[in-house]
Structures are given as structure tokens and as C-alpha cells.
């Protein structure tokens, strides 16, 4: 099943001008655990998906109170630097939508 069919929120945003953070939120505990346990949003999988070095994945946090998985990466450039494509970082979530989560 695609992540976009399981999550209630999939979003990206700057966390300060030098980090980009992705939030994946779920509506129920069962789905949250299913995705956490699938390991499909590990640092390695995320680095592969976005074609970045795994060392640029700064953290993967499972935050139970919000039924959320949060991934934070190093921005490829400071927000607004030459070559910027997304000053707020709000449209970098696309590749997450189609991540396949096994049963």
C-alpha cells in the first residue's frame, strides 16, 4: 500500500534555513506502528529515495504523542541561496507519497 493511502499528513518544511524536515502523521496507532515497524522510512531508505548521502539525513524521530514520523535532512543550500528552488521547503514531499508499505 502506498504511504499516501495510509498517512493523514505528508509534508515538508524548513526547520531553520539550513535544514529541511518531513512529517508523516497517521490517524490511528495501528497504522503508525505498521509504518514504523516496516522500516520503510529509515535513514537509509530516505537517503536512497532522495538520492542524498545517508550522512545528510540528520535524524529520524518516531513521535508517539502525535502518531508521527519525522525525518530531518541537511538542505542542499541555505534557504534563498543561489540556485534555491523552494525557499520555504514546502514542496519537497512528493517522493514520499508513493513509498510502498508492505502488509
Amino acid at each position: 500500500m502506498k504511504l499516501s493511502e495510509l498517512a493523514s499528513v505528508i509534508r515538508s518544511k524548513n526547520a531553520g534555513p539550513f535544514e529541511l524536515t518531513f512529517d508523516v502523521l497517521f490517524s490511528d496507532l495501528e497504522t503508525y506502528h505498521r509504518v514504523v515497524n516496516s522500516d520503510c522510512l529509515s535513514a537509509q531508505r530516505f537517503a536512497y529515495l532522495y538520492k542524498i548521502s545517508v550522512t545528510d539525513v540528520l535524524s529520524v524521530v518516531h513521535f508517539l504523542p502525535a502518531l508521527a514520523i519525522k525525518i530531518t535532512i541537511r538542505r542542499s543550500r541555505g534557504s534563498g541561496d543561489l540556485g534555491e528552488t523552494d525557499v520555504y521547503g514546502a514542496q519537497q514531499h512528493g517522493p514520499l507519497l508513493d513509498v510502498d508499505i508492505p502488509e
Partner: protein, 457 residues
């Protein structure tokens, strides 16, 4: 000691507006303070670098007229954080002028404390040389050159300078760059409420009703703090706070929802509990504050990096799109060969290809999918506006008429939506400092000016 303290947050950013009805509901609850945040680095380095506000003057005045009138009528403080968005001197002066204008229009006067956050190059150099400045996260190392080139450098103040201004009798406090929660936490902390809970409540209130469902950055929220917990309540009856909406908000724009660093310490949410009071209110407890020694503040700086000109065009020819990279490379070589005197470091030419990888750049995994049309932005950033204009015009005309193998549409390669096709965008800035600085005292770097403003002043 008061056992309960209420903080009214009218809107997420001063200038975003709020419904009168929600605000009145908030006032009817007898808040002890009205606080509003105006700041963010989100809109990018231009605003800090140039000294311009990212909010509109008319919209800010509209909000301030209502906030000032309500606060003075009720004799409760009005606290405004990070004036003008970036919170440097020009932004602060801009906001203070609007406050004076409002007071005159309302035929009122008030004791206004103005707290600046600018850090001089001299102070920064001294701090840098004594190793009191360290990078904040994955950022470049600071150099003396970066300090010298920065047009504005601000530090984020904590609650301490605001508390000092309140001690001096300020009715309105307007600050330069400020830790977002500080204006919400200052009055509770001054009255002896727990720092951790006051700051955590401020962290949520600074976005007003964004933490509610449905969320809104332009609607009011009330925070009610006791000595062991706080309760959040949206003031528009159509919104509610749920455990999930409040917990989810702690993720927003943060790299780690469990630890939220700020001036002088870190909020630790690992023991935090969120519980529903009823269908619309959420109680939060268990937040801890880990004191950071020495006291450190966040620095933000921006420096000019050139002048920009862009031209926007569309492409629909399959043969052009099929050979896009080769064509763009050929155009680039042609442009720079026409201007052999321009050194490589004097100008940067970028072709943005919307429909392919315009949004995600190097992160785009679907770059190889061939689209049926491309939105092209030709962009030149150069040492002067004239040079940027010249090179952008050259790139635009070169690309319009460039021949390439297999070309059938020989009349022109680009579809321009506008005449004129090129737009001069002016000075371009980059973040030059995003670091932490150790300070001896949390108030000294933030000078407080107190003066009576308005009708009888």
C-alpha cells in the same frame, strides 16, 4: 500570587488579521496579556538583508489598531515580538512608526518599550575571536569576512529583556528579533509561573490557531497557565484543539519535537502529557526546561550577493524538450562567449525547468520523465544590476533564436507570457550567519528604550 494566568494570542503573525468575534471572546475571558509574534526566517534572507518587512503596512496597522485599543482599555500589556518579521533596526523602526500612528489615530498615549536585537560588527568580531560563536546545525563556519559583509545581524532575545521592560512600567513592548515564545511567556514568568510550561505554551500560542482543527494562522487562541499545566483553547467556536492537533503542532518547523532549544536552554518534551479537557480544549503538562550554561542566543545575519534579473518563458516543441540539456548548455556557452570580459565569479546563469525538476532540483527522482511542455525561468545573478540585465537579455534572445539539430519550428523557441519579458529583481541576499553566541547576560545585548508615544506625547 495569582493561581491562573491567561495569555491571548490574536494571530500567528502580526498583519495576518483575526476575526473581531474571536478576539472579543478572548477579551471577555479577561486575559492578563495580549502577545503577538511577527517574526520568521521562512520568507528567506532578502528581508533581513534589505531591512524590508515581509508583512504589509496596511495589514499590520489594521491589526495593531485593535490590539492597542484593547490592551490600553483593559490596562493589560501588549507584547509584540520580532517586529517587521526579521527584527533588525529598520524593521523595528518601521513597526514603531506604525504604533505611533495608531496611538495618534486612537487619540491615546502609552509607555512604549522598544528593545533592539541588532549586534554590531565590533561585538560580533570580538565574540568570534574569543570563540564564543558556534555553528547552529549543518551550517558553514563563521568568518570575519562574513561578519563584515552582513548588512544586518540580529540575535534572538529571550524573556529577560521583555521582563525588564515590564519592570520599568512599559504598557506596550515591541522587540527586534525575539525567540517566538518569549512574548507569550514573559508575563507568566515575571509572575512566578514555571518557565518550562510558560515557554511551551508560548511555543504553541505563537502560531495562534494553527494548532487547532481546522487550523488557521489568522484566528485567536487562548492559553491558560497554572503552576502544573496549561490549557489551550481556540476562541472561534468552529475550531477545536485535539490531543493530536496540539501534539502534531510541536513537530512544525522543528527538527526534533522532543527537544526544543531556545535562548538559555532547551524545552524537554519527553515527559510531556497531552490530554483532552473536553471536545475543544487540551491540557499539557510535564514539560521540563534544561538550563544551558553559558547562556546562548541564536544569531541570524544576511549579506548581499549580487543583483538578479529573470525572464519567464514556456517551451512546447518536442524536439527542443527532447534535447533540453544540450540546448541550454549551448546557449550558456554562446552567452558567455559574447561577453569574454565577464569573469566567472561575476555572474551566475541558471536555467530553471518547471515541468521537469524546477521544484526539487537535485532531489527530483523523476527528472528523466519527458514532459510535453516546460516552464523556463532564465535567471542571472551578477555583481551589478546592469550586468544581470545584459546577460539575461542575451540568454533570452540567444535561446529564442538558437538553432539545434532537428529544429522544425524555426520562427522562435520560446513562448513569452509577458512584454517586457525580462524583470530586474534588485539586490539578492544570502543567509551569512546562523550561529549561537555565548553572552554574559541575557539583557545587555538587547538595549531597552522606554518612551511615551501618541496623542499627548
Amino acid at each position: 500570587m495569582t493561581e491562573v494566568i491567561k495569555v491571548l494570542s490574536p494571530t500567528a503573525i502580526l498583519g495576518y488579521g483575526f476575526p473581531d468575534a474571536s478576539f472579543q471572546v478572548g477579551l471577555d475571558r479577561n486575559p492578563n496579556v495580549i502577545a503577538v509574534d511577527a517574526g520568521s526566517t521562512d520568507p528567506g534572507p532578502h528581508y533581513l538583508g534589505s531591512g524590508k518587512s515581509f508583512t504589509d503596512r496596511v495589514a499590520v496597522k489594521r491589526d495593531l489598531m485593535r490590539l492597542i485599543d484593547a490592551a490600553l482599555s483593559r490596562r493589560i500589556p501588549l507584547l509584540i515580538g520580532s517586529a517587521g518579521g526579521a527584527g533588525a533596526r529598520p524593521h523595528l523602526d518601521w513597526c514603531v512608526a506604525i504604533i505611533e500612528d495608531c496611538l495618534k489615530d486612537l487619540n491615546r498615549s502609552a509607555k512604549v518599550a522598544v528593545i533592539s536585537a541588532d549586534q554590531s560588527a565590533g561585538e560580533l568580531l570580538a565574540a568570534h575571536r574569543s570563540k564564543r560563536i558556534t555553528p547552529l546545525g549543518p551550517v558553514f563556519d563563521l568568518t570575519e569576512g562574513l561578519i563584515a559583509e552582513s548588512t544586518h545581524v540580529v540575535a534572538q532575545m529571550g524573556v529577560e529583556p521583555i521582563v525588564r521592560a515590564l519592570d520599568q512600567g512599559a504598557e506596550i513592548v515591541v522587540t527586534g528579533r525575539c525567540y517566538d515564545p518569549a512574548v507569550f511567556a514573559a508575563v507568566p514568568i515575571r509572575r512566578g509561573f514555571p518557565e518550562a510550561l510558560a515557554l511551551h505554551m508560548g511555543k504553541i500560542l505563537e502560531c495562534a490557531a494553527i494548532a487547532a482543527v481546522p487550523g488557521s494562522g489568522a484566528d485567536c487562541m487562548l492559553g491558560t497557565l497554572t503552576h502544573d499545566s496549561f490549557v489551550l483553547e481556540p476562541l472561534n467556536p468552529e475550531r477545536r484543539c485535539t490531543v493530536t492537533s496540539v501534539a502534531a503542532h510541536t513537530l512544525y518547523e522543528k527538527s526534533d519535537p522532543r527537544y526544543l532549544p531556545g535562548p538559555g536552554g532547551t524545552l524537554d518534551l519527553t515527559q510531556c502529557e497531552f490530554e483532552a479537557v473536553d471536545a475543544r480544549r487540551v491540557r499539557v503538562s510535564g514539560t521540563q526546561f534544561i538550563v544551558d550554561t553559558p547562556y546562548r542566543v541564536k544569531l541570524e545575519g544576511a549579506r548581499p550577493i549580487g543583483f538578479r534579473t529573470i525572464s519567464i518563458a514556456g517551451v512546447r516543441s518536442p524536439d527542443f524538450i527532447g534535447s533540453l540539456d544540450a540546448i541550454l548548455e549551448s546557449a550558456r556557452e554562446s552567452v558567455f562567449s559574447h561577453f569574454p570580459d565577464v569573469a566567472p565569479e561575476e555572474a551566475t546563469l541558471i536555467f530553471r525547468c518547471y515541468g521537469r525538476d524546477g521544484v526539487m532540483g537535485s532531489l527530483e527522482p523523476m527528472r528523466d520523465v519527458v514532459p510535453h511542455e516546460i516552464g523556463l525561468v532564465i535567471e542571472v545573478t551578477a555583481r551589478s544590476q546592469e550586468l544581470a540585465d545584459t546577460l539575461c537579455a542575451s540568454a533570452r534572445s540567444t535561446l529564442l533564436h538558437l538553432g539545434y539539430p532537428g529544429r522544425q519550428s524555426t520562427a522562435g523557441n520560446l513562448a513569452f507570457p509577458y512584454s517586457p519579458s525580462d524583470v530586474s529583481l534588485g539586490a539578492v541576499y544570502a543567509f551569512s550567519i546562523y550561529h549561537l553566541m555565548e553572552v554574559d547576560d541575557p539583557v545587555t545585548p538587547f538595549p531597552i528604550q522606554l518612551r511615551v508615544m501618541g496623542a499627548s506625547a
